[in-house]
């Protein structure tokens, strides 16, 4: 069933932290420019999946593979994955005291784009994006995530990703901790990113953000595996019936959806 041209192919992925297996056979394909939502409860292993794709050293892949543009990622460090065009928006971005946002962005862009963008060129680039995300100028001289509100942290993540223009953006609970105004702004940022060609894997446990970012595919994630896949409808169904209903692969629950959607199209 595999589409060799897919941007990301995850095949039967098992990953563990220490002795504890968290991912128990995840398979997922994402095409260039598509939008996927991965929905699951707290503790279902969603974040582990995003960390494993990005290459967090704490998670060990014990079985299966992750391929990006046809090549396995498993032997690559996180920065090498970033340079291939993968970016992760963190659920809890960490503070880097003493390092300004501007310095961080500049250094990151230099590493990923392999071009040192002069400040006078970078500033106007930033300014446009920052206006879209309703971020004040002074933000650039603050220390990375140091004393940021939840909303500010998420905005920085989206700002950063919109500069990197990755081929694949994994957004780990980017909607959590946002009020409705911030949610709209951030969702718009995600939509623009997608319009510029970035494929999106949106990890969330609420359908709320999907009102603003429309997924082509919705996957329900439970206990380390994808139990159901469907179209946007599945998210509404999930909201109606709850995760318990989908706790085990439920043929009744997903029949309609899978019929309508050619998953590997």
């Amino acid at each position: 069933m595999s589409n060799k041209n897919a941007l990301l192919i995850i095949n039967n992925l098992h990953a563990k932290i220490g002795d504890k297996t968290i991912l128990k056979g995840v398979s997922l394909e994402i095409n260039s420019g598509s939008v996927h939502a991965l929905m699951g409860r707290n503790g279902s292993g969603k974040s582990t999946l995003s960390y494993t794709i990005m290459g967090h050293p704490k998670y060990e892949v014990s079985q299966g593979d992750i391929k990006f543009e046809g090549n396995s990622l498993l032997n690559l460090s996180p920065d090498e994955r970033a340079k291939l065009g993968i970016a992760l928006s963190f659920q809890y971005p960490v503070a880097i005291p003493g390092v300004t946002v501007l310095n961080f962005l500049k250094t990151s862009l230099k590493s990923v784009l392999k071009r040192d963008i002069p400040i006078k060129e970078l500033r106007p680039m930033l300014k446009a994006k920052m206006q879209e995300l309703e971020i004040k100028d002074e933000f650039l001289s603050r220390y990375v995530n140091d004393g940021f509100s939840g909303g500010e942290k998420k905005k920085l993540e989206i700002l950063h990703l919109s500069l990197l223009k990755p081929k694949l953006a994994i957004l780990d609970e980017t909607d959590s901790g946002l009020d409705i105004d911030a949610l709209k702004v951030v969702a718009n940022g995600i939509t623009s990113l997608n319009k510029e060609g970035t494929a999106i894997l949106l990890i969330t446990h609420y359908q709320r953000i999907l009102n603003y970012v429309t997924p082509q595919f919705v996957h329900i994630f439970e206990n380390g595996e994808i139990t159901n896949t469907g179209n946007h409808e599945l998210a509404f169904k999930l909201e109606e019936f709850g995760y318990e209903y989908f706790a085990k692969a439920n043929p009744l629950a997903s029949t309609n959806s899978t019929k309508e959607v050619n998953y590997v199209s």
């Binding site: 990953a15 960390y51 494993t52 990005m54 290459g55 967090h56 050293p57 704490k58 998670y59 060990e60 892949v61 990622l73 498993l74 032997n75 690559l76 460090s77 996180p78 920065d79 090498e80 994955r81 970033a82 340079k83 970016a87 992760l88 963190f90 971005p93 960490v94 880097i96 005291p97 003493g98 390092v99 310095n103 961080f104 250094t107 990151s108 862009l109 590493s111 990923v112 220390y143 990375v144 950063h160 990197l164």
Partner: protein
């Protein structure tokens, strides 16, 4: 997962890339024998044509040095390893001092070129003294400052040309009997800086002294005295390096600052000795009414540093600040700190100490806050942050408080943290290599320090840290 951050490998590289470790062939006018005797002390004084009172001061100090025990605190093991009989106490590298780099012997000039001193002088300094072994071989000061009456010269010339001023202040803040190493310095001192800034004169760009040890088993004992007269300002910067040898050298300076009412002294040190140098230094300042003294103290090199810049707040509204960083790698112990002594009322002080230990290195913060009886409305804040880069390294805090008055507001805060895997992963996920990510975290940690340096030094420090993170394959 086989893709590792290889954090340990990268961190192990920090501090191993010492680019100042080269040495010159010795071609000296005079080199004393090893060991310390009254004859050597007398010889030094005679060679310098000193007044009798200074010779007497030296010989008394020598007797004190013999008599005083080694400190029983700090790193006593390393202290007791010092072989005083194996050290050269006085080396005169050249016949005369240059005021033009072309007058400096070529080998020595080349060394200072490699250290970037003449270039820095051209770009952003108001004056320079360059000390090589025991003597200052080059000195300059901007003409306009000289016309305003600013004195910036080596201590020996200071004594010759401004004897009254020197005699009035010399060893008044740090007497020879203060501690064993102050006694040692007092007996064999040579070189160092003498600075006097007249009332109301603001020296707008920094004066710099650079100290270079070249010979193996060298003892360098410079003596610095800075007097800022009423309402004046001066920023003095010192840097130091030495060749890498397998046996030890000793650097033991005495630095006295006198900030007269309303004046402001900033004293910045970037200590980058090679790892075979003992750096045992006594630094103390008196800040009188409305005066401000700042020690900005960076300790990157040396085998063992023991240094606790002190500020005595002698007059009302005097302010003191110590901002220090320490970096300890393999076989290094940075035992540094600060002393704030509140003698007068309405005085305030701030201590910010940041240290990084890696690869088994050790940092200690050792501090004293003392408030005299009857010193009212005193404010003091002490903040110590230690960052450990691995499990082999160590950091300790030894704060002492002697508070003899109730009307005092003192805050003390100490943290120890590790470079987090999560920080590294976050930065790496945005394309930074493990080296780059570590350098960024370390630079950020030191940022409160680097932002206080003149831009050129901040850039250099950041570059050094970055360089030191490189050269490892993940």
């Amino acid at each position: 997962m086989s893709a590792e951050l290889s954090t340990m490998d990268n961190l192990n590289q920090i501090g191993t890339d010492y680019k100042y470790g080269f040495s010159d062939v010795e071609n000296y006018i005079f080199k004393s024998g090893r060991g310390l005797t009254p004859e050597i002390v007398t010889k030094i004084s005679h060679m310098k044509n000193e007044p009798q009172w200074m010779l007497e001061f030296r010989l008394k100090a020598l007797a004190l040095f013999y008599k005083k025990p080694m400190p029983t605190w700090g790193n006593t093991k390393l202290l007791n390893d010092i072989d005083f009989a194996n050290i050269f106490y006085y080396i005169k590298p050249s016949e005369k001092q240059g005021t033009n780099w072309n007058d400096v012997p070529e080998g020595i000039k080349n060394t200072f070129d490699r250290l970037g001193i003449p270039e820095a002088e051209r770009k952003f300094l108001a004056g320079v003294t360059a000390q090589y072994e025991s003597e200052v071989v080059y000195h300059s000061i901007r003409e306009d400052l000289e016309k305003l009456g600013v004195i910036f010269t080596d201590m020996d010339s200071g004594l010759r040309e401004h004897e009254d001023l020197v005699r009035k202040y010399f060893a008044t803040i740090i007497p020879a009997n203060d501690n064993k190493f102050a006694a040692l310095n007092s007996s064999v001192w040579s070189g160092g800086s003498f600075v006097y800034v007249p009332p109301g004169v603001k020296v707008d760009i920094p004066l710099q002294a650079y100290f270079r040890i070249n010979a193996e088993n060298m003892g360098q004992f410079e003596r610095t005295l800075i007097i800022a007269d009423e309402g004046s300002f001066v920023h003095y910067i010192e840097g130091c390096t030495a060749p890498v040898y397998s046996s030890d050298s000793l650097h033991s300076a005495v630095v006295e600052l006198i900030a007269l009412p309303g004046s402001h002294i900033r004293y910045t040190t970037i200590q980058n000795w090679s790892k075979n140098v003992y750096n045992l230094v006594t630094k103390r300042a008196y800040a009188y009414e409305n005066a401000k003294v700042e020690w900005v103290d960076g300790n990157l090199g040396s085998k063992l540093t023991m240094k606790y810049p002190a500020i005595y707040l002698m007059g009302e509204n005097a302010r003191g600040e110590v901002l220090s960083i320490a970096f300890a790698g393999d076989n290094q112990h940075q035992d540094a700190g600060a002393k704030m002594v509140h003698v007068a009322s309405n005085t305030s002080s701030i201590v910010v100490s940041k240290s990084i230990s890696k690869n088994g290195g050790r940092t200690s913060y050792r501090g004293l806050v003392k408030v005299y009886e009857d010193a009212k409305n005193v404010k003091c804040s002490v903040k110590c942050d230690a960052l450990l880069l691995d499990d082999l390294s160590r950091s300790d805090t030894y704060p002492t408080m002697e508070i003899n008055d109730q009307d005092v507001n003192i805050e003390h805060e100490a943290t120890v943290s590790k470079v987090g895997e999560e920080q590294l992963f976050y930065l790496m996920s945005r394309g930074l290599t493990a080296d780059e990510a570590t350098a960024m975290i370390v630079n950020g940690f030191f940022e409160p320090f680097t932002k206080e340096l003149p831009l050129e030094y901040a850039v250099e420090l950041n570059r050094l840290i970055k360089l030191e993170m490189e050269g490892s394959v993940g």
